[in-house]
């Protein structure tokens, strides 16, 4: 998994590229959590337009980051979902708690 991050004030924008499954989940989680150690980050946007595959392991990574942000009063936004990722998000009710653009 490749990560490209940029920060502007309390907003962090992260583009993920690659396959997000159980194999890549730990590395992805660690990279995102390193970025989230900066407690000035309140809003995280995950750009998934470069994610070519995602299963429920990826869902776990996204929901875990949502919990971290919500505990500090922040928000998580997802963008750039493929049809397959959108299907997993819809069936699991992710859009009820995570914003999408």
């Amino acid at each position: 998994m490749e990560i490209n991050a940029s920060k502007r004030g309390p907003r962090l924008h992260v583009k993920l590229s690659g396959e997000l499954d159980h194999h890549s989940a730990e590395q992805t989680r660690n990279m995102l959590d390193t970025l989230l150690k900066d407690i000035t980050v309140r809003d995280l946007t995950l750009d998934l337009s470069g994610v070519t595959f995602m299963d429920s392991a990826g869902l776990g990574v996204i929901l875990g980051r949502y919990r971290i942000l919500s505990m500090r009063g922040g928000h998580l936004t997802v963008t750039g979902m493929s049809g397959a990722i959108d299907k997993i998000f819809r069936m699991s009710g992710v859009y009820a708690i995570v914003d999408r653009v």
Partner: protein, 144 residues
């Protein structure tokens, strides 16, 4: 049965991608739509990941079998392990249930398999292993 293939590989997470690619390559012989191919890649990934995490824990030398069968336009996929088995299958199927919350699992594995395939059957015996059998009619979305 018109055609089939069977692969056995060790319980390594790197093989999750290999297993879904192999199943997709077999399924492509049935001329699936892109969405159907995507659905079965996801379902196979879930079943193989469950075997790696739940059936075998950290035993990286244990083996997983992936079997694909095609009969006319019907695809059948079996993911089998000889791991710890599932004590309560109904509980395991429940959305958001996970026996390993410390691993930040979403608990959506079986729910995803059920949403993305036509049918999902689980046979399991504690201490003996689990076989997940999933079926999907190929070409339905295109109206074959």
């Amino acid at each position: 049965m018109d055609n089939w293939m069977e692969l056995t590989f060790p319980s390594l997470s790197v093989n999750e991608g290999f297993a879904r690619a192999a199943a997709a390559a077999f399924a492509s012989l049935l001329n699936p739509t892109i969405d159907e191919l995507s659905d079965l890649r996801t379902a196979v990934s879930e079943a193989v990941t469950n075997a790696i995490i739940h059936a075998y824990g950290n035993d990286r030398s244990a083996m997983i079998t992936l079997r694909c069968e095609a009969e006319d336009k019907r695809l059948k996929i079996v993911v089998k392990d000889t791991g710890c088995g599932i004590e309560d299958i109904e509980l395991a199927r429940r959305p958001f249930y996970t026996s390993k919350p410390e691993l930040e699992r979403s608990g959506m594995g079986f729910a995803v398999m059920e949403a993305f395939m036509d049918s999902v059957q689980i046979e399991s015996a504690p201490g003996e292993g689990t076989a997940v059998t999933m079926e999907k009619e190929i070409g339905v979305a295109r109206g074959d």
